[in-house]
Symmetry: C2
Subunit: 195 residues, 2 copies
Amino acid sequence: MPFAKPSRSIPEVSGTSYPPPHDEPVKHRAWRALGDAFGLTQFGVNLVRLEPGVWSSQRHWHAKEDEFVYVLSGHPTLVTDAGEERLSPGDCAGFPAGVKDGHHLKNDTGEMVEFLVVGSRIPEDHGEYSDIDMVFLPGRGGYTRKDGRPFGLSGRFTARKRDRAPEPMRGAKPGWAEHQNKRSGFRVCAALRPE
Amino acid sequence: MPFAKPSRSIPEVSGTSYPPPHDEPVKHRAWRALGDAFGLTQFGVNLVRLEPGVWSSQRHWHAKEDEFVYVLSGHPTLVTDAGEERLSPGDCAGFPAGVKDGHHLKNDTGEMVEFLVVGSRIPEDHGEYSDIDMVFLPGRGGYTRKDGRPFGLSGRFTARKRDRAPEPMRGAKPGWAEHQNKRSGFRVCAALRPE
């Protein structure tokens, strides 16, 4: 029984829990959770695949978590406050926690893009989306508008989760979401892995 | 001014602070500190290059830090308690904190090996080497034998540091090493990045 794994042997999943219409450009992003496959908990390492036209996420920053990307194949476009730049295999970028310069990668080419993304796992993490009226809440607690107003029910499950029953939030205690909702008076969207 | 960096533009360093003779198989390992180049502090991401015959480290485990490797090129041999296995590009492996199964990569081929290694940065981390009589201490405090006895002065600086004056330990307060040495009665070796 080998200890290592070919990354292609780790199941690929796809989707997003963003509420519409923000889910649209990212809902076909696909990733393999490489770090999780070995039981790592302190950081995540995902191998992300973007078909032409697909974005890694909405442009965002993290208040508490460092993040890092390394391009394996293709030519994704990195967007930050500084503008757009076309990357190549071997290029990398890092985003320290708390720096409010939103980033994402999008595939504006006709070829597949693959990259590794590493992110710390800090329960208190939260952050904002630079180009849209949306924030993500601590504890993987989902999304609201920047003034705290919730998104509608229709945004609760999208893409691959659309036809399935709601799943509990990862790491949340039973009843946590209901408790939070009662406390805040808001209904928030469940997040698989907000970015 | 682009935000991202070609990984080759980040300076490559090499060496080890292992005391002899344990420095011998690893002293030509070379790495680029990709995460540090962007100011990340919660985890390190290093692009490691092993010429034929070179090891990544002595076989070791971490008490507090998760670790992850992803092979970019070549065919390193992963050694764990389960034995040896030859890896290929795209293979990956993760080592959760506290699992006392030592690991390292060695290049037993005639071609270059390159891989990414990710590790948490936890000051309390310490660990042991599986195949030799050596441990590494918390706070990047260097190495002793497993019974706590220090290595000799001759082991203090090796490889690229051999001809240079001692540098302070990264992250250590001035006088910390002297204080520790007085307290323990031992003289420990300074560690660049114990693994």
